[in-house]
């Protein structure tokens, strides 16, 4: 009997631990799994270049960790909860601050990173917004290159199997509903792959690219969260999407949205509207520009909305009062970035806009990165709860590496206990059917205009400031987009076809977008990154929404339950 499927027969590969994603979380996971159990067979599945895709690579400012005896993990914890408006899962936030100094030790002594030193030869820590102590570890203003470069080097020592340019498609269960592995697509050859794995670690990063002005690398299309959603896992805090206050404006160039780092505000940069007012005086007169990202991004947005923005729809950041030489010495990467587009940070104000940056929401995990599906671990931006309603600058790469390391430790414990299982054939067929659909169809829209539609809609209706009417419109529009996404057709060969890849990215983005709009409509208050023009107040007791797909498919109904945040370590009224 001949095959009737319109995709090639998948290759099958068995592994102990499949790590999806090759950023900070993914590669720290590999490091820890293979350090704990060198005999494990570990496979990295990365839809881009290993160690050179995703956003850890793009980290500028740095990594928050308590190293100075005058600082304390209790203070870092308090700052993290204050920043997160007490929506955080306190066990996760505590794990973050507790492990961060230990991960710095490991990055320096085992991984071979070298962070900037003070004159005494000890690690230098700089000021970041929203923190009560200067605790941000860095390598110049392009810290991510050092961390990811050295982690990538470790892979040559450890030798995991690297599936570069291989996109993970779907998690797979066996016929008893146990985790069995995942489907994947080799982007180079266009061939499908079934990976049987004892443990799967999802560490793909967030989905902020779904906004018109956005900071992340192109790979960040919510793949991990969407995979988990399709597999029926619960999500939390999906409405909590962080906008960074200072994204570059470079017209229609792809550079638009790239972040000018937080350290500029830490070092005393001023923000002005088009009328030359230091507008932060209206929004946070005490902390001014050093207020947290949520407050500063919203202030910029409101200034622009009120007609006090520049012609290009931005505001201005100015640090030139420190002097050309000082700005060039402390922020060489940022200066180069502005000169690239004909402006000059060292010599005058630069046009910026809030830019979609980081997703606080994600899959529910425990402190060891376990999910409710045995054998499935989630680490980094794909998980939710650590940052609550707003992430502090410098806590992002800390989260990726801290929880990546923990996922690796957990995977090393779990893998010997779990058997290899046979994936259910109908799940494999459904997954590959979805993936090969755009290539097989001859009639249908290209993905690019749909991506643009999604970005405009999210920016307009599910953006920095939201309201009930806009969210209701977004809900309807996203349903329409979901329909269109399932009709996309792409021409060209299966090999190295990035239009096809964009079609698959888009399908994931729309799934995540629907959960964001749904959760944003539920939260009838303003808290952290989630601002409602029609509900400006903040409720006394923080609650969060746990969402799950309904039985009618990933684009169908959303079931949800409301939970109260447990103040297991610290309540807002507790004295520091």
């Amino acid at each position: 009997m001949g095959r009737t499927e319109f995709w090639p027969e998948p290759d099958v590969l068995d592994t102990d631990v499949a790590v999806v994603g090759s950023g900070g979380a993914g590669l720290m996971c590999v490091l820890h799994a293979l350090t704990a159990r060198p005999d494990l067979d570990v496979t990295v599945v990365s839809k881009g270049a290993v160690g050179r895709s995703g956003c850890t690579r793009m980290v500028q400012g740095g990594f928050n960790a308590v190293l100075d005896p005058a600082d304390s993990v209790e203070r870092h914890f308090r700052d993290t909860l204050d920043g997160g408006k007490f929506l955080n899962d306190q066990a996760l936030a505590w794990t973050l601050v507790h492990d961060a100094p230990r991960v710095i030790n490991e990055l320096e002594t085992r991984v071979g990173c070298f962070f900037d030193r003070g004159p005494d030869g000890r690690i230098h820590q700089k000021a970041f917004a929203g923190q009560s102590f200067d605790r941000t570890v860095h390598r110049g203003d392009l810290t991510g290159i050092e961390i990811m470069g050295r982690l990538r080097d470790q892979m040559f020592r450890l030798g995991p199997r690297e599936l570069e340019d291989v996109r993970a498609l779907d998690l797979l269960h066996d016929e008893h509903g146990q985790l069995a592995g995942l489907t994947a697509l080799n982007v180079r050859t266009g061939r499908p792959l079934v990976l049987r794995a004892r443990v799967v670690v999802v560490a793909t990063g967030g989905s902020a690219t779904m906004y018109r002005v956005a900071a992340p690398a192109r790979e960040k299309t919510g793949d991990g969260v969407a995979m988990c959603w399709r597999a029926g896992l619960p999500l939390r805090d999906m409405e909590m999407l962080q906008f960074h206050p200072t994204g570059l404006l470079a017209g229609n160039a792809r550079m638009t949205g790239a972040v000018l780092e937080e350290g500029l505000r830490g070092a005393g940069a001023h923000l002005y509207n088009a009328a030359g007012e230091r507008y932060m005086a209206r929004y946070d007169p005490e902390r001014m520009e050093r207020s947290t990202r949520d407050v500063v991004a919203r202030a910029g947005y409101l200034e622009i909305a009120a007609g006090r923005g520049t012609e290009e729809g931005g505001v201005l950041i100015d640090i030139s009062h420190l002097g050309v030489a000082e700005v060039e010495r402390r922020f060489p990467g940022m200066v180069a970035r502005t000169r690239q587009i004909g402006q000059d940070l060292a010599r005058g104000p630069v046009r910026v806009s809030p830019t979609a940056h980081f997703h606080m929401g994600g899959v529910l995990i425990d402190v060891d990165c376990r999910t409710e599906l045995d054998g499935l671990l989630v680490a980094g931006e794909d998980s939710g709860g650590t940052h609550g309603a707003n992430r502090l600058g410098g806590n992002g790469v800390a989260e990726s590496t801290v929880f990546g390391a923990r996922a690796g430790d957990t995977a090393a414990l779990l893998a010997p206990e779990r058997e290899l299982r046979d994936p259910a054939a109908d799940e494999v067929a459904a997954s590959l059917g979805r993936a090969y659909g755009p290539l097989a169809r001859t009639e249908g829209p290209w993905p690019f205009d749909l991506t643009t539609r999604l970005k405009e809609l999210m920016w307009r209706s599910v953006g920095v400031v939201r309201d009930a009417a806009g969210l209701a419109e977004a809900d309807k529009e996203l349903d329409a987009l979901a329909e269109d996404v399932q009709r996309v057709a792409v021409p060209g060969p299966p090999e190295v076809n990035y239009a096809w890849q964009e079609a698959l990215d888009l399908a994931n983005q729309v799934i995540v977008a629907r959960t964001i709009a749904h959760a944003a409509a539920w939260r009838t208050e303003t808290r952290g990154a989630h601002a409602r023009a029609d509900c400006p107040d903040t409720e006394a007791a923080p609650r969060y929404l746990v969402q799950r797909r309904g039985a009618d498919g990933p684009y169908g109904g959303i079931t949800s339950e409301v939970r109260a945040v447990e103040f297991s370590r610290l309540a807002p009224e507790d004295q520091p």
Binding site: N105, E146, R254, A336
Partner: protein, 236 residues
């Protein structure tokens, strides 16, 4: 008056695929923007790679009018009406502008590119980072040579490496120099053997293509000179 269009010639793998395109000029405009415009309005199947678009990931490297550059960092200025875009030299083409960087990374791996701590050095989550002042001789050697993004622009620009002759190439040798100079590393002698062997520093003819091409302003030629001196026990 410069035109409002830019003409772009792209080397395609399929000889029948379109290779000449005209895209509208935007301001500012990088080579990456031109490639995206081609993909979005002319040929969705055109193959090119990028990720971060701010010069940090090192994956969008191509040759523009013969020079190996990052597409995201190379401006199409007002006076430029036509560019030609080719894949990097010395690396196998997967499709169109997308190359397989495996030969570059094989060379990189050959120099033991990771830190090898000494036997007596503690490593891990409970080990203390080394105390090394920023004005120490080793840091003054190393710091200007860090921040390599592995983009392979130097490899493609090097007449020896890109000709697929047996040469480790500038980036790998730069990485070797950084580790040899690092007081935390104990594998310096082994690495000096590797860089001193047949495919090492002696292959370099000092054409300086690497240093001219590096988008991060590193100076791999200087690193190679330093390794050569180090091999003869010289100081500098």
């Amino acid at each position: 008056m410069p035109g409002e269009d830019v003409r772009v010639s792209v080397t395609r793998s399929d000889p029948d695929a379109p290779a000449e395109f005209t895209v509208p000029r935007i301001r500012p405009m990088m080579v990456l923007d031109a490639l995206l415009a081609i993909q979005r309005t002319h040929d969705p199947a055109i193959g090119f790679r990028f990720s971060c678009r701010v010069g940090m990931c090192g994956t969008c490297t191509v040759r523009v009018d013969g020079r190996s550059v990052l597409a995201c960092q190379t401006e199409i200025d007002e006076d430029t009406e036509h560019i030609r875009v080719d894949p990097l030299a010395g690396l196998p083409v997967l499709r169109d502008l997308v190359v397989d960087t495996a030969p570059f990374w094989r060379a990189w791996a050959a120099v033991t590119p990771y830190l090898v701590p000494g036997e007596d050095q503690e490593v891990g989550m409970d080990a203390e980072p080394a105390v090394i002042p920023p004005d120490s001789a080793e840091r003054e050697t190393i710091d200007p040579s860090l921040d390599c993004i592995g983009c392979a622009a130097c490899f493609s620009s090097c007449g020896i490496a890109s000709a697929r002759r047996d040469f480790l190439g500038p980036a790998a040798l730069n990485r070797a120099m950084v580790l040899v100079a690092d007081s935390r590393d104990a594998a310096g002698a082994h690495r000096m053997d590797v860089v001193g062997a047949g495919s090492g520093v002696d292959r370099c003819h000092y054409i300086y293509g690497c240093t001219a091409a590096c988008p991060k302003g590193l100076d791999p030629a200087r690193a190679i000179r330093r390794l050569r001196r180090g091999r003869f026990g010289g100081k500098d």
